[in-house]
Amino acid sequence: MCALRPSKRTRNRNIGITLGPYFLLVLLVLPFVGSLASAFFLKTSSRVLPSWTAGGVSLACLLIVIASYPSITEGQVVRLTFEWIPQLGLEFKLRLDGFAWMFALLIAGIGLLVVIYARYYMSEEDSVPRFFSFLLAFMGAMMGIVLSGNVILLSIFWELTSIFSFLLISYWHNSSAARDGARMALTVTGIGGFCLLVGLLLLGNIVGSYDLDKILEAGDVIRAHSLYVPALVFVLLGALTKSAQFPFHFWLPNAMAAPTPVSAYLHSATMVKAGVFLLARMSPALSGSYEWFILVGAAGMITLLLGAYFAMFQQDLKGLLAYSTISHLGLITTLLSLGSPLATVAAIFHMLNHATFKASLFMAAGIIDHETGTRDMRKLSGLFRFMPITGTLAMVASAAMAGVPLLNGFLSKEMFFAEAVETHADSFLDRILPYVATLAGAFSVAYSLRFIHTVFFGPKPVGLPKEKPHEPPHWMLFPIELLVVACLVVGVIPAIAVGPILQAAAMGVLGPDTPEYSLSIWHGFNLPLVMSIVALVAGALIYILLRNYLAQCKDGAPVFRRFRGQRIFERILVEVSWRWARLAERRIGTRKLQPQLRWVVFTGFVAGLLPLWLSGFEPRPFVFSGVDKAFAAIWLIGICLALGTAFLAKYHRLAALVMLGGVGLIVCVTFVWLSAPDLAITQLLVEIITTVLILLGLRWLPKRNEINDAPITVRARLRRFRDLGLAVCCGVGMTFVSYAVMTMPVPDAIATYFLENAYSQGGGRNVVNVILVDFRGFDTFGEIAVLGVVALTVYALLRRFRPADDTMAMPEQQRAQNRFDEERPDRSAGDTARDYMLIPSVIMQWLFPVIIMFAVYLFLRGHDMPGGGFSAGLTLSLAFLLQYLAGGTRWAEDRIRILPLRWMGAGLLTAALTGIGAWAFGYPFLTSHFQYVELPLVGKMPAATALLFDLGVFSLVVGSTVLIMVALAHQSIRINRLRAIDAAKTKET
């Protein structure tokens, strides 16, 4: 599984790691575990516990990363592979090389510093556990991106970072800026992530594997493939959106609504680096072509210049830093576009340097915000006298950002300048690059100067939201101190401080192509140095010239502040998700049921006709096969009844219902006739229950008769003709299709399999029942679940049911009966209703045990003879139903208490447990077992586990049916209470 070489194993043992490659898994899983653990502290108000958890997790990750250093030097790679979806050739593969290691170091290291900082930054009112939970989850997702050895896995973690970034930006969800910023970031990076997935799928398709190693090896194949350009464009869309490159840069400044630790961590050090990480990672496979240079280079150079230009004109401290981040990411992208090994080394070096100085600057900005209550540079000034340590640290970090010698930013910027002067691909872009680079350098000097000068120098600030700013607690400064020291150390002794790390990272990307380069401060007086000097001087001049304008101008660069990416984005969003949706709804949608049904029926008809039309309909000679006269006679009646139902359903509901029942009975007889006794039993029982239900419902429908209705308009008449036409078409079509199907020879499909195996495998002679409870048991399980859901829905709907006003009054018949009772001295109201059909009701009461017995009989014989859980369940519920009919709801409920919910629960559980029981014996869900047992009195009995499953079906059917019926029946009792409430209300008024 692992690809460690033996020599490395011994070396690992020397420093005490015995985990093998499994430390990769620990590294990936630990942050997620920490995130879940933090989530458990949600109830506590303590800030200490979650921050210690987060700190501990990041520290552990950092230590693991540092300890794993020996296993990645000299271009070595650690791999860990698990099976994931072998059917699709997907492996869960983790992979650590020098480049991934450098990123893991950044993620864990800066993560730890951010956690320490956030511990003091977050206030008492914030939900600290939630914050750390999200932060750790993000850390895990980010680790996932850099450690993925499979591009599909990478894409999943990529999406996860977008989601956690969304959650972290919207952490203060009471602020609308945070919500909007988060949504925009999610939309942009989410669309980008989707494009990335498409691109990676294309790449996987070209290479024939989703394994990162295989893709990186197949660079020549990929570049020669006809799908290279689409794959490249999609991957770039993913990378450029994530790294906020032009024209997708606009989400990053809006993401600054996040808490500052988040900005420092996600939006400067790690997540936005994921885009350039991916570019560098994929460069062996994708770079080197002209398309790559043009697309990546154009995006990078525009971003580099525009970002720096915009940064100068920001009034918000974090806004300035955000645009500066965009510009620096543009610098890295530009370097990567060049495709030369030296440029790649410079890009990797700058990723490292930028993370250190920018994270510290964000933290400093957070402290300033924390202490003064504002980030507006028009209000801030002269803070150095209050917070000299913060000021000094910020100055060093900004100097690094500006590229001042003896700091780390200078080194990578020099390397950038050196590469900019080189000619790579002779084109316009290449020729202007030195000038663009110098100009962007000058801008970055200008905004760095502005940052320091405005905030820390000048007169004392007036009118700050918080009076008397002072230095923060020491531990809040500690992360900045550490990062600034890193900037200095790297800047002064680069070869010793980061030489090995950079070498390992470059080896990770470039492999054997890693060039020779020198990491030193002094390369002699050469062109890059001249460019640096020009940039420094020009930047200082720009700042001096613009100083007065900047001190009071509006937020944003002149002219450009009108074209705000955010506005354009929102307009597009509104256009698509609101206007177009509305338009589509208006044009092609309707909320009326009739047109919808008409379209459904019409589409169904066309869908049935089209294949016949296309494949040509071959009429067969009609062979009259003889007609059974009795069968013809009952269907003659059936057809009349069906037509009668259709005709009477509007004005004569009861008659229509009776006729419908008649049709049902004839269908039932047909089933018997055609050798399907199981269906006949079920149909008969369902028919009875449905009729009773509809009878119960009739009570609540309005009176309707022909005389009171408005006369039919011409339009309505036309509509009727259209519907009639459609109905005739459907009817005729169905006649033809069913005749064709019935007269065709039945193909030998799956029926034989079931017939042959029902007894030997299912232990039953009733094949229909065996199919239901054994072969297709899982379907039946789903079906009874549906039945249960329907019953609960019916119950829930009826709980709030309030009949319409015109049906609130007592029915006419009851009123007449009560009047009759009241007129007689020897009777009291309700007597007639009680005595009505007395003899049948006594018979029905007596039948109760008989029907129960019948249900048991149906159930037990079900596996071998017609019957089974469904029909037994329906029969038993009919037994209950008859008691309600015989004595009335009150009478029945005084005597038997049915708890339908218990029946349903027990049924579902029994069925599920029977299925799960198979697992205990090592078989798949719902595998059944059967044998015969001798029972006293009963004799030899088949005892299959399927019978137990059938018992579950039985119980659930009883519960659901009874629940539905009782809920409906209770409405007549509830109405008395509603009437009483209404009466009380009218009395009050």
Partner: protein, 112 residues
């Protein structure tokens, strides 16, 4: 046999489709029931129209001469689910009638 059954299916489809396109909820529920009969019979008939064959396994009878169990199993579940949907629709109909005071499918009170 086949011709009678197919005409019956056709007529029930005709009545069902006509009814579900009507504006009154009661007509729709009755129409759905009729349509369900037609569809159930249709699915059932796909297995072949056989009279007087044993529906369960009998020793000594060839499996080919038995009734096709697969459509039967399908229709059996369809009958039960049909019952569930009818019940649900009935209650939705009642709730809509209670809320809007009308038995029009869209809850409108104007006649159409």
């Amino acid at each position: 046999m086949e011709i009678i059954l197919s005409i019956a299916i056709g007529v029930m489809t005709f009545c069902g489709v006509w009814l579900i396109l009507r504006p009154r909820t009661y007509q729709v529920i009755v129409g759905l029931s009729l349509l369900a009969y037609a569809v159930n019979l249709f699915i059932f008939s796909v297995g072949g129209v056989k009279t007087n064959v044993p529906p369960v396994l009998v020793d000594g009878t060839a499996t080919a001469s038995l009734a096709d169990p697969v459509p039967q199993a399908l229709v059996l579940t369809a009958i039960v689910i049909g019952f569930a949907t009818t019940a649900l629709f009935l209650v939705v109909l009642l709730a809509s009638r209670g809320l809007t005071g009308s038995d029009h499918v869209d809850g409108r009170s104007d006649p159409s």
